[in-house]
């Protein structure tokens, strides 16, 4: 536009005046990522100067749980050989993470175990026979989840993680003081549900603690083929939650870090991802052959960093482990194993009609028909058995 008075043209920019769009704001991160980053090295207590601050009573309690957990793994493995369990995924070598996960929770909190984590469930107070129901094969979940607030063991990897988030979120909406601790393996972190659960948890600031046990393998596949992340704990940062890297064989460190994460969740400070660096000493399950994908030498290096031995060293150093104490702990573990053996030696009482009872709140007419068919088959079977029994008696 040309001004009639001055004859000078007004710059186009000025002409548009207020119509000028404001430029986009300079980008800056929404949260300072630095405090979310895990330590470069796994956090340790035992065998470090931090050990001096650890409470003896707690360490002794952890020791008792570790020894009992080790015995539990051995007993369950033995039960597979006797045909009492269909399969058992052992947590030998991972006892510190398993028992710490259970011990940091309060009564009203919830545990979300993966298929491998029966030990955590047992350490939380679940009857081991019930915990092993899935693996014995008498029913998918051998326990009432509400009794100890332990979600059903989840076999589809990482699918239990969003459940933990939803439950914790629901509890918070109701104003209840509940924290959910959800467990998953290193392989499970590659699943979409892991990503979605962490994202939801962070967006909702849900009171959840995610515990990844990085035991080196997903069946046969090592971590290097699973991720290119600096560590699994680093994944937390992308969701805006803190990641903690811990020595998973150090029960004192596990207890401390998980306790802090639970405390933060309880206080409304949102979720935490904890990576426990540990090692699966046994094969994936009793049915697996680990020699196909790892060397004995590698296993031996980890045996030198055994969670039970680490704790024993600390307690011995403090003069807390005399023969008598060791014997008492061993005795407790033996009694525990004997009870488990006894429980598993009894054949479970099965009612085939249960197959139709719990599919729906109210049986559909289709299921009623099928239940009647099975009932008739069972009756005929029983009749035939009775008849052949009578025959033999004659």
């Amino acid at each position: 536009m040309v001004s009639t008075r001055t004859g000078r043209s007004t710059p186009v920019m000025e002409q548009r005046g207020t119509h000028q769009p404001t430029p986009p704001p300079a980008w800056k991160p929404r949260t300072d990522p630095a405090p979310l980053l895990p330590d470069p090295e796994p956090y340790r207590v035992l065998g470090t100067s931090r050990a001096a601050e650890a409470d003896s009573t707690l360490l002794l309690k952890l020791y008792g749980e570790l020894v009992r957990g080790r015995r539990y793994n051995a007993q369950a493995t033995a039960l597979t050989k006797q045909g009492r369990l269909a399969v058992y995924p052992s947590t030998t070598g991972q006892e510190a993470a398993e028992v710490a996960a259970a011990m940091v929770l309060q009564e009203q909190d919830w545990l979300f175990p993966s298929y491998r984590d029966t030990l955590a469930a047992v350490a939380r107070g679940l009857d081991p026979v019930q915990a092993l129901g899935l693996l014995r094969g008498d029913w998918h979940t051998g326990y009432d989840p509400y009794e100890h607030r332990i979600a059903p063991l989840s076999t589809p990897l990482a699918t239990q993680l969003p459940h933990a988030v939803g439950l914790a979120h629901a509890a918070r909406l109701k104003g209840d003081d509940v924290v959910a601790l959800a467990m998953v393996g290193d392989g499970g972190t590659s699943e979409g549900d892991f990503h979605e659960a962490l994202n939801f948890a962070a967006v909702w600031q849900a009171p959840v603690v995610f515990l990844v046990q990085n035991n080196g393998f997903a069946i046969s596949v090592p971590l290097a083929k699973q991720t290119a992340a600096p560590s699994l704990a680093h994944k937390a940062v992308g969701y805006g939650m803190p990641g903690r890297l811990v020595d998973g064989n150090d029960a004192a460190a596990m207890h401390e870090v998980l306790s802090e994460a639970v405390r933060n969740a309880r206080a409304g400070r949102g979720p935490t991802l904890v990576e426990a660096v540990t090692y699966r000493m046994d094969a994936h399950t009793n049915a697996d052959d680990a020699t196909r994908y790892r060397s004995d030498a590698e296993v031996e290096t980890w045996r030198a960093h055994d969670p039970v031995a680490l704790m024993e060293r600390e307690l011995t150093g403090r003069g807390l482990l005399d023969e008598q104490r060791i014997e008492a702990v061993r005795q407790d573990a033996e009694e525990f194993a004997a009870r488990l053996r006894q429980g598993m030696n009894a054949d479970p009482v099965l009612d085939p009609m249960d197959l139709f009872t719990h599919v729906y709140a109210e049986q559909t007419s289709q299921l009623r028909e099928q239940a009647a068919q099975l009932r008739a088959e069972l009756d005929a079977e029983a009749e035939a058995e009775a008849a052949s029994g009578a025959e033999q008696e004659r």
């Binding site: 659960a197 939801f200 009872t357 599919v359 007419s365």
Partner: protein
């Protein structure tokens, strides 16, 4: 069996409403009645959902009750499972049929199995609303008939309304159910109108009852959801040919109302199953088999199916060739071996 008229015209206080409005009202009434009810999904809050079914609900009940979630279907359903474990009654919206697939692992491995797995200790009172089916000119991934996937999964109820009144009643019943319900909403009927009384919406029917939409003596059209109006239209057109067709609206695929369906087929002696879903592996095969097994001696002809073709859902400009229409239904009716009876009178006794 219940016999209901398709319209409530003539009743006092009735007004026309769309199915979308009835669904919105059902959600609103459920939210108001039960503090455990939570609505969650993509864009269900501020926007009111892409089909506006949740319109105004976030404003009325707050974002803790009506929640815009992150965009992740497995996460939505997975967290809803956890909420249901804690005693809430989540109502999940899947934005479109084909976008529910990421949630299938949660659906099949957990939603459908949790009650059974825990011997009834951990029921999951969850409703999953899925807009489904074609006929709206939607581009790829927006028009799937996904019902066959759901009905093949024991532990789920699968419900689909065809009228405005049923949309309200069935959704209320689904949300009140202690079991997970897949609530399939026929997209192309969202804007269909029916008369209802907004002061006193129709009482909730128990899930699992089919309804005879039109009585007839010649043959039974067995159908559900988006194909119900098509079958009603076909039945009208059939009159000119001398056929008096009965139309059964299933309303619920699981549980399946064998009683209503078979009572009808035994009366008419002939049956055609009509749905948009592909025929191979579609619900029609199961329905035809059930009817044949139960009504064999009453049948004058094999049970026929009019289904979508066994093809991926077509692009919008070709979808009319895929969807079962009046002509295709009448062609099937014509193939019901009338000549064996020596006339088009129909109606076996």
């Amino acid at each position: 069996m219940s016999t209901a008229t398709s319209t409530a015209a003539g009743r006092t206080g009735t007004k026309p409403a769309t199915m979308a409005q009835a669904l919105q009202r059902a959600l609103r009434d459920s939210l108001a009645e039960d503090p455990a009810v939570h609505v969650m999904g993509e864009d269900v809050g501020t926007l009111g959902g892409v089909f506006r079914i949740t319109d105004g609900l976030a404003k009325e009940f707050g974002e803790d009750r009506v929640t815009d979630t992150p965009l992740a279907e497995a996460g939505i359903l997975g967290t809803a499972v956890g909420m249901a474990m804690y005693g809430l009654r989540p109502v999940v919206e899947m934005q479109f049929d084909a976008f529910a697939y990421p949630a299938f692992e949660q659906l099949i491995s957990h939603v459908a199995k949790m009650r059974n797995r825990t011997k009834g200790a951990m029921p999951l009172p969850l409703t999953i609303r899925v807009p489904y089916g074609g006929g709206i000119g939607g581009v790829e991934h927006h028009c799937d008939s996904s019902e066959a996937y759901y009905i093949a999964t024991p532990g789920l109820h699968v419900v689909t309304p065809a009228t405005v009144e049923d949309a309200y009643g069935l959704l209320r019943a689904s949300i009140a159910s202690d079991d997970p319900v897949i609530f399939l909403e026929p997209k192309r009927l969202y804007w269909s109108k029916g008369s209802w009384n907004p002061e006193a919406p129709t009482a909730v029917e128990p899930i699992g009852k089919a309804v005879v939409r039109r009585t007839g003596r010649s043959a039974t059209l067995i159908t559900y959801g988006p194909s119900v109006p098509v079958c009603m239209e076909a039945a009208e057109a059939a009159q000119a040919e001398g056929w008096d067709l009965e139309v059964v609206d299933l309303r619920s695929l699981v549980p399946f109302d064998d009683e209503t369906v078979c009572a009808s087929v035994r009366r008419t002696g002939r049956a055609v199953v009509v749905h948009e879903s592909g025929g191979f592996g579609g619900p029609g095969g199961e329905i035809a088999a059930r009817v044949t097994e139960r009504c064999f001696h009453h049948l004058e002809a094999p049970v026929l199916r009019v289904a979508g073709f066994d093809i991926p859902y077509p692009p919008p400009m070709l979808e009319r060739h895929h969807l079962p229409g009046v002509d295709r239904i009448l062609d099937a009716v014509a193939r019901l071996q009338w000549e064996s009876e020596g006339g088009l009178e129909g109606g076996s006794v």
